[in-house]
């Protein structure tokens, strides 16, 4: 089942670590956000394949925005 990974806070997208189609395991870093001088890794919540990436480096995300979808 597809699982949406959402931003927990307003942040800048600092680095995209995975690409669409990658197989990831629970706890792997997908994307690194930057907010208030802190790097915040966004982690895979379960094993799966990255079926969609909704952000690019430099984007600003709001709390609740979908960052990636794991299929």
């Amino acid at each position: 089942m597809a699982k949406e990974i959402r931003a927990e806070m307003v942040a800048n997208v600092w680095k995209i670590v995975v690409t669409q189609g990658d197989t990831v395991a629970d706890g792997d870093t997908l994307v690194i956000l930057e907010s208030m001088k802190m790097e915040i890794p966004v982690l895979a919540e379960g094993d799966g394949v990255v079926s969609a990436l909704h952000v690019a480096e430099g984007d600003v995300v709001q709390e609740g925005d979908v960052i990636a979808v794991l299929g």
């Binding site: 806070m9 208030m36 001088k37 802190m38 915040i40 600003v60």
Partner: protein, 446 residues
């Protein structure tokens, strides 16, 4: 003395400096980014200049824009606060070359203390205890592994140019060192533009205790007692107190002697802080680093000594005597500072937002240094510090009780806020007993 002081900073510290500048009958000039136009420090300054967009590199770290604002407003002195340009020797030199007074130590002192390896070698030569570690940057993983045999595990892998808890990592063994060395080196190159890495002995149970010093206009270096900053998350301070529950009068004298020696080694002028690690089991301490600027937590020292450190900075910069007798300091009672951050109280992840409610506590022995008020916005562009709550009491118990009442009555709504963490901490047996070390917050959250 100069008549107009430009404050090259933002938020709570800009506001706090402006208060003292104006209290001395001087004019205060603020500089601000487009993201901060609505904050109290901009309104409270006598004059405020927009110097650029939100990105710090284009505003608060933009040397040309800050100096241009100084020229435009007729400022004769520049106070850098902490962070941003405060420890940039090139900025300090540019300020002086522009004919302005720099409210801080000489560019030479900043530079010599700014590099961690150089600083450690320098103070060690002056008789200050330092931890076992590398005396020059470690070139690669093989050199690191060789050095590790002499120092012993566990080790701290540290970016030489790092600070504020960034660019440091613990290695428990050789395998860990291989991983952490590469990580810290990469991070240092990216973040600080300087990939130098050093290794130091890591002490698992330590307290972080620092000594406030002042290099006076007449050349003397004096110490204003210690602050205990052992309540930390991610190597960043959350709480500071003075005096330290772990420092005996005899130990205090030894730490003060070391801090004064460190200051004298570079002919230090103005306010600075000598940070040390204190081994809770042996009572031995080692030099960690020197911060060549006003410290976030300076208010706890002000509360126990009854002096205004920013005022002393301005007096020293003006080559005037300080307002108190350095030979007759008389600390009174106990002070505790809590850093009220826009972050959640469980995982300490930041959460900016617009403040819809902001009710500050008040009462005897309660001080709030805030950068925000109701209807202002905490943005993701800067650090998460919203305010500092400082309490003072006749002893530690009274300070703790005042802190509990103040935390319970402080109301912040809108952004995330770590106030509930402090309510929990102030009931924690380790913290209340004063026996805690830098691992406390991790233990509370595991």
């Amino acid at each position: 003395m100069f008549e107009t002081v430009l404050v090259a900073n933002r938020g709570e510290i800009a506001r706090r400096i402006i208060r003292t500048v104006q209290g001395l009958g001087l004019r205060a000039v603020a500089v601000y980014s487009a993201a901060d136009a609505g904050l109290p420090f901009v309104r409270e300054a006598d004059e405020a200049v927009l110097i650029g967009p939100a990105a710090p590199a284009e505003s608060y770290r933009n040397v040309d824009a800050v100096l241009e604002a100084a020229g435009q407003t007729g400022a004769q002195a520049v106070h850098p606060g902490y962070g941003f340009l405060a420890e940039d020797p090139l900025f300090a030199a540019r300020v002086e070359q522009s004919g302005l007074v720099w409210v801080g130590p000489s560019p030479d002192s900043i530079e010599r203390m700014g590099n961690k390896i150089r600083a450690r070698n320098l103070v060690s030569a002056a008789g200050v205890p330092v931890s076992r570690g590398t005396e020059r940057p470690v070139a690669d993983v093989d050199a690191a592994l060789a050095a590790a045999t002499a120092i012993g595990f566990p080790l701290m892998v540290k970016a030489s140019a790092g600070g504020g808890g960034m660019g440091m990592s613990v290695a428990a063994d050789a395998d860990g060192l291989r991983v952490e060395f590469e990580k810290v080196q990469g991070f240092a190159a990216r973040m600080f533009g300087d990939a130098s890495v050093l290794l130091e002995r890591f002490y698992p149970r330590v307290r972080h205790v620092e000594i406030q010093i002042l290099g006076l206009a007449d050349g003397r270096v004096v110490a204003l007692g210690e602050r205990d900053c052992s309540v930390q998350r991610r190597n960043q301070k959350l709480v500071e107190e003075s005096p330290s529950p772990a420092v005996s009068p005899e130990l205090r004298l030894r730490m003060i002697d070391a801090a004064v020696r460190a200051g004298e080694a570079v002919g230090y002028r103005n306010a600075g802080t000598v940070e040390c690690l204190l081994d809770t089991e042996t009572g031995e301490f080692v030099f960690l680093e020197m911060n060549t600027r006003l410290q976030v937590e300076h208010p706890v020292t002000e509360m126990v000594l009854g002096i205004d450190i920013v005022e002393q900075q301005l007096r020293i910069a003006a080559k005037s005597p300080v307002s108190f007798d350095p030979d007759a300091l008389s600390p009174t009672g106990h002070a505790i500072e809590l850093r009220i951050n826009a972050e959640d109280p469980k995982r300490f992840l930041p959460g900016p937002g617009t403040i819809t409610r902001w009710d500050e506590p008040a009462g005897e022995g309660v001080r709030v240094d805030a950068g925000y008020t109701v209807d202002t916005t905490v943005t993701p562009h800067y650090d998460s510090l919203m305010a500092k709550l400082i309490v003072h009491g006749i002893d530690r118990d009274e300070a703790l009780e005042r802190a509990r009442v103040a935390v319970a009555t402080f109301r912040v709504e809108g952004p995330k806020c770590n106030l509930p963490f402090f309510a929990e901490l102030l009931e924690n047996p380790e913290f209340v007993s004063g026996t805690y070390d830098t691992g406390l917050v991790t233990r509370m959250r595991s």
